[in-house]
Symmetry: C2
Subunit: 329 residues, 2 copies
DNA sequence: TTGAAAGCGCTAACAT
DNA sequence: ATGTTAGCGCTTTCAA
């Protein structure tokens, strides 16, 4: 593969001139430009990003940290990140951490090593202390899950009020016994959604009963199945359930189905995230939609602004309660 | 951020010696090594990959081309690719082409530009001609979708025989009228699965009826819904349907459900891919499982071997028919 | 065992 | 308008 010097020689100019043509900087006579372009063409020259990046000390690569690919929740966010990034000359590197600190370190090092210019983290299991240290020296944005009171800028929705709204919807339908399928409260969104759940119950003078709150060990469908199974073993069963993720809610629907229970007649279900699948279940799932594409898009714009040295502020976006069959009675 | 020279000065050695310590090459006295490690520690030095990559003219980055993230089919393959790659010191860059030639070009250029060392393409819509040209100069592996008679090495399953087996299963259950929900036959797997479908029918002297073969415009759930709707409008309806992807099959199940038809009593359904969701539908979905993780793992090992200059051969992996409720009658 | 120095491919300051 | 040159951070050959 030809390098810039060979192009320069063939065109009878210096490498500086070739660089000017390549980057459309400085001034080049149209005659010289023509010669250079001809040489580029003839040699099928492609500039090496390795040289350019070293010289400019930038990689134009952004890291996107997610715990794992298999959660469909992330796909639309990633689309948003990717669209903004590519439009602005950056590429993204999707990093699956598997909630594994070793992997996390690899990715952190890529930033320290100048292999990437910044990070968007969507990983709720990320080591926030390390990330905050890293944020001292490198541009970092949090997306969806963030650090309350921390210093790293974030994009998110108001989880507390979204959960509140979902529960209020269930209450207005006449449900007084409302269960919660939550996930580990080490996650901020889990704590926030639980708070919203409790606020709504209190507001309507409904009791908060611990046996109606089930905490799962993960977000797979199977965890939702498991959770619903437990709730159905109770003497006094809830008449509605709010799951903090669609995957859990779908697992719950599956279990209800297997038990021959009718949703929403026997029990109403609300999920969270509006993954594409939530419209394919029977019944279709009532859920909270986050503006995922916009979240990703916004996060990317914040990160790139931050890389360019501009100051960025955290952003709270709107959500929407999408009412479908699982709560239509 | 300190560079190698500062470390060298602080340790009272040359940058060459620091490099030797860093890379564990050459010979360094344990005393010198100690001094260098101390200096690295004190300065919190992290080697720049930019410099190293330029020098070694490699990026240790692999591109993985997929048409879009939202198809859950790809997630396990990606896990396999990622595990092998990371274990061997490479990182992967997930590239969503959206079947858009412009995006594709960006990614091709990254390889030409030395920003990436090779490509694994899972994109059935990729411009095979361009990719083949690129493969002359750069390591490229195809995964799952490949180029029949082409020169690029691939990992895949035998789609024709997998479809054949699925149809034979339906026939043995007593189905004589079997529909096919296929996708655009510009895709190799679509042509191969159709062939398998036809071979099984012929073998049992069953007619191949064009009105029972529906070709969708895409792989979203909604396309499956649409396809089933059309098949149900026929005067003579099929008693079983084979869809070439789980997403389509799940859409079909949804439509059957909406129409109040029972699966498998009124109509049996078989999908393809064994996505995690296929076990959450009601009824659960009979489907063909590809060894996705292994496919990804294999593809990555082939690519890295190819980068290291070793010769690689195409690989055909085994599949498995997973029988679930949608065909249990 | 260690150091000096060249060079990977590029850009930009400076000179002409 | 164009060329000369230094240097980004690293590795490696050659010499000591």
């Amino acid at each position: 593969m030809a390098n810039i010097l060979e192009v320069a020689r063939r065109a009878g100019v210096s490498s500086a001139t070739v660089s000017r043509v390549l980057n459309k900087t400085g001034t080049v006579s149209s005659n010289t430009r023509f010669k250079v372009e001809k040489a580029i063409e003839e040699l099928k020259y492609e500039p090496s990003m390795l040289g350019r990046n070293l010289r400019n000390s930038e990689s134009r690569l952004l890291l996107v940290l997610i715990p794992n690919f298999s959660n469909p929740y992330y796909t639309e966010i990633i689309n948003g990140i990717e669209d903004y990034s590519i439009a602005n000359g950056y590429n993204i590197l999707l990093c699956e951490t598997d909630s594994n600190p070793d992997r996390e370190n690899i990715f952190f090092n890529m930033v320290k090593n100048k292999l990437a210019d910044g990070i968007i983290s969507m990983d709720p299991t990320v080591n926030m202390q390390k990330l905050t240290e890293l944020a001292d020296e490198h541009p970092i944005i949090l997306c969806s899950e963030y650090d309350e009171g921390g210093s790293i800028p974030y994009v998110a929705i108001d989880n507390e009020s979204a959960a509140y709204k979902a529960i209020k919807h269930l209450i207005k339908l006449g449900n007084h016994n409302i269960g919660l399928i939550n996930t580990d409260e080490k996650f901020l969104y889990a704590r926030q959604r639980r708070k919203g759940y409790e606020r709504a119950l209190k507001e309507f003078n409904l009791p908060i009963r611990n046996e109606w709150i089930y905490t799962t060990a993960g977000l797979d469908f199977q965890h939702g199945v498991q959770a619903m199974r437990k709730l159905l073993q109770l003497n006094e069963k809830p008449s509605a359930v709010f799951a903090v993720s669609d995957t859990l809610a779908i697992g719950a629907l599956k279990e209800l189905n297997v038990r021959g229970l009718n949703v929403p007649d026997d029990l109403s279900v609300v999920g969270f995230d509006n993954i594409s699948f939530s419209n394919m279940t029977t019944p279709t799932l009532t859920t909270v939609a986050q503006p995922m594409y916009k979240m990703g898009f916004t996060a990317a714009s914040m990160l790139i602004n931050s890389i360019k040295g501009r100051k960025v502020e955290s952003v709270i976006l709107d959500y929407e309660l999408i009412i479908r069959e699982s709560t239509m009675k």
